[in-house]
């Protein structure tokens, strides 16, 4: 009896805590459905008096969200594809191959992990400008086409594949690339899925680099668009802005909810083991 009561009170406490955690999300959704007049009311209403779905139409038409959404999609998907391809390739070489300079290169990669993103802000802007990619969506794809996290994450999973499997394929006359594509890649599909979802979310949410590397609004990505909109306009149309915010948040939240098993595995694989 006592134990049951204790468990119930723990459950109740957790339900209340999770409800508190959801308040910002509740507020985001309800605000996106209020009219621009209702959202400025004092005191605020807890539920929209009339559901203003026209905010979404407004944000898509007036604020050119279709274009922005398209930019974000292109950048995130391309960068993720590059990250997965290049990290898996490098991870495979570091896990299974012997070559001169391997230890040195791995130490170097670990070393670069200590560099704070802020240090690269200015010089990366310089390099990108000099190679002519400033204000080009490629500037958000190419430089971010591999992550150190990705390399070590893949290396860790590929190490678990028995060497004998690779040897057997080699004896059967498989070329190096055939081994990679028809033996390694199929065996680490779950790890690849984890990396895809984690890197997609990271690139989708990226703000600082687009801020530094893009200039024309036509090229803006979603976080940059809404971030600058909130700063720029004198009278911010908050309800429309929140509608835009919902559209920004929705893809990653949906991706997370459908693939959370892979997402959580990836997070734990990268931090606790390493």
């Amino acid at each position: 009896m006592v134990k049951n009561f204790k468990k119930r009170s723990i459950a109740l406490g957790l339900y209340i805590l999770s409800a508190i955690f959801m308040i910002p999300i509740y507020w985001l959704i309800t605000s996106s459905l209020k009219t621009n007049i209702e959202i400025t009311r004092i005191p605020p209403t807890f539920w929209p008096e009339q559901l203003a779905f026209e905010n979404f139409v407004d944000v898509i038409q007036r604020l050119d969200f279709a274009r922005t959404f398209f930019n974000s999609t292109v950048v995130s998907i391309s960068a993720t594809l590059l990250i997965v391809a290049f990290s898996t390739m490098a991870g495979y070489a570091f896990a299974k191959k012997k070559f001169l300079g391997k230890n040195f290169l791995m130490m170097m990669l670990i070393g670069t992990m200590t560099i704070p993103a802020t240090v690269l802000l200015l010089p990366l802007f310089f390099v990108i400008t000099k190679i002519g990619l400033y204000d080009n969506l490629l500037a958000l794809i190419l430089p971010f086409g591999v992550t150190i996290f990705g390399i070590f994450f893949m290396k860790q999973y590929i190490e678990d594949i028995p060497d004998s499997l690779i040897e057997a394929a080699r004896i059967d006359g498989c070329g190096e690339f055939r081994i990679f594509f028809s033996i390694i890649v199929p065996l680490i599909k779950p790890a690849i899925t984890s990396l895809v979802i984690i890197e997609f979310v990271n690139n989708w949410n990226s703000f600082t680099m687009p801020l530094v590397l893009l200039r024309s609004p036509d090229n803006f990505t979603l976080p940059l668009r809404i971030g600058l909109l909130a700063k720029d306009t004198v009278a911010v149309p908050w309800a429309s802005l929140m509608a835009g915010n919902v559209l920004t948040v929705l893809p990653v939240v949906i991706a997370f909810l459908f693939m959370q098993r892979f997402f959580i595995k990836g997070i734990l694989g990268g931090s606790v083991k390493g």
Binding site: F99, T112, T118, N205, F256, I264
Partner: protein, 325 residues
């Protein structure tokens, strides 16, 4: 692994290595190399050296130079323009009032953010670990804020903490407390930013703590049950000490995160009110892209880098000692 040990031994006994033996080793390794490996690492290495290592080096050199933005426009990719001025940029930065203020602001942020995040994530993880009904759904709920971008979260917190129209002030008014314009009062702006950062991060660290809790052997708790320990005792003498190493790791991660606060400041306050939320990265951004003072931005970022490396080294030392028990 064995290679590493050998090289350490060799360094400690300088007699053993001559240049020739080194060269021979290298040659042997080169012969034994699987050359396809270089093709596999090539794309990754090009990107890392071009977009991480070279920029970091460029920035280091730039921090010792007096760079004119106009000159910079005409410079080549592989040159750093400007007159060599030694440590002048560093001396300027260390004497800069705003830089010192930004360091203090960062500490203020960390002093709220780190304890809050650690306390909340340990507590939630321990409650979830009790295995109640629906704990996997709850786990997802706590984790959702982590996938929401900093910008999106900042915008939501801006309207929640808005002067008169915000949710928090409405609740305060209900209890008869006068409204506070959180984001335009010097004492309140930073705590709101810290609260938002915590909200986003708790789910992530909760996961790490959950994994750590599941690694604590159940036999320890069973043994303490026999001894008649209360749950307070169990926490004090089993759970907390067993979490020691992970606490250290989490603390360091949160500290490094605190040094990198930029987006939330940029969106929510723009450094104000009265410079009370200017952080080091925000100042670096402003120096570089608003005032075009490249040298001082580079010097600041290397001071930040040094602090992060210092923290990492200290962590490494402490971890080593802890593991030696």
């Amino acid at each position: 692994m064995s290679n590493k040990k050998n090289s350490v031994l060799e360094i400690s006994k300088p007699k053993a290595v001559t240049f020739k033996t080194r060269l021979r080793h290298t040659k042997e390794k080169w012969k034994a190399s699987d050359f396809s490996a270089y093709i596999f690492i090539l794309p990754a290495m090009i990107i890392v050296s071009m977009f991480i290592i070279y920029p970091a080096i460029w920035s280091l050199v730039a921090s010792f130079r007096n760079i004119n933005p106009m000159e910079l426009r005409d410079s080549g990719l592989f040159e750093v323009v400007g007159e060599w001025i030694g440590l002048d940029n560093y001396i300027d930065v260390l004497g800069n009032q705003l830089f010192r203020k930004s360091l203090l602001n960062t500490i203020y942020f960390a002093a709220i953010f780190i304890p809050l995040t650690m306390f909340a994530s340990v507590t939630i993880a321990m409650l979830l670990d009790k295995g109640i009904k629906g704990s996997s759904v709850l786990r997802s709920i706590f984790f959702i804020p982590y996938v929401i971008s900093i910008v999106s979260a900042s915008l939501v917190f801006m309207i929640i903490f808005a002067g008169d129209t915000g949710l928090v002030n409405a609740v305060l008014a209900y209890f008869g407390i006068e409204s506070i314009s959180f984001l335009s009062e010097t004492g309140w702006a930073m705590p709101v930013i810290a609260l938002m950062s915590s909200w986003r991060r708790v789910g992530y660290f909760m996961l790490i703590y959950l994994a750590a809790l599941q690694n604590i052997p159940k036999s320890l708790y069973e043994a303490s049950d026999i001894d008649g320990a209360t749950s307070m005792h169990k926490f004090r003498y089993i759970t907390w000490p067993m979490l020691g190493r992970i606490n250290m790791v989490v603390f360091i991660l949160l500290m490094i995160f605190s040094f990198n606060i930029f987006q939330e400041v940029f969106v929510m306050t723009g450094g104000g009110p009265a410079d009370s939320t200017i952080t080091v990265p925000f100042l670096i951004y402003n120096e570089a892209f608003t005032f075009y003072d490249m040298g001082s931005a580079a010097a600041m970022s290397y001071i930040l880098f040094a602090v992060v490396v210092f923290v990492g080294v200290v962590q490494h030392k402490i971890n080593k000692n802890k593991l030696d028990y």
